[in-house]
Amino acid sequence: EAGVAQSPRYKIIEKRQSVAFWCNPISGHATLYWYQQILGQGPKLLIQFQNNGVVDDSQLPKDRFSAERLKGVDSTLKIQPAKLEDSAVYLCASSPGADRKNTEAFFGQGTRLTVV
């Protein structure tokens, strides 16, 4: 079974530029999560999708961050414009769905973003 795929692995941009991250979850997984992990901290949930609908985006800075999950499969997370404090690892994870809460989430390797 293929795991969660993320790209790119690394990205360096200047502040005020835009950037996009891509995630392909495990096949058949209805739930997709985007987490932000700042160095030395735990993963912070930015947005959670169930199929192609947003379930929770309470901690997503909506003035600069956006995410979509078209067709309920792949997802993209965009930052525009980027700030220095957005430097972090962006982790994508997937799990089967809300009807299988006892199943763990599976993580991709993450995208390390550096804003200079």
Binding site: G40, Q41, G42, P43, R100, K101, N102, E104
Partner: protein, 115 residues
Amino acid sequence: AQSVAQPEDQVNVAEGNPLTVKCTYSVSGNPYLFWYVQYPNRGLQFLLKYITGDNLVKGSYGFEAEFNKSQTSFHLKKPSALVSDSALYFCAVRDSGGATNKLIFGTGTLLAVQP
């Protein structure tokens, strides 16, 4: 609201000694609890979970964790630490009765095993 606390930023232990990494949680309903490990420049890897039943759960690489409902804790343990266990460990919680399968993580504990 669900939350997880990992009170220790770092745990130091000598190789061969037992280790414990602490975790406490808060949820409205019954918890589903998870431990993950993160090695440098890698994503999170699942170690073990508590869903229901026996309070002592066993997972990968010889790790186990004990669920204690009265203390709302889910501490990670290993009888004999290895240098290769050195990594960042995260506890996570999900509300089994919640409308969504939101998964919330603690701040992490760095485990350092000295040879």
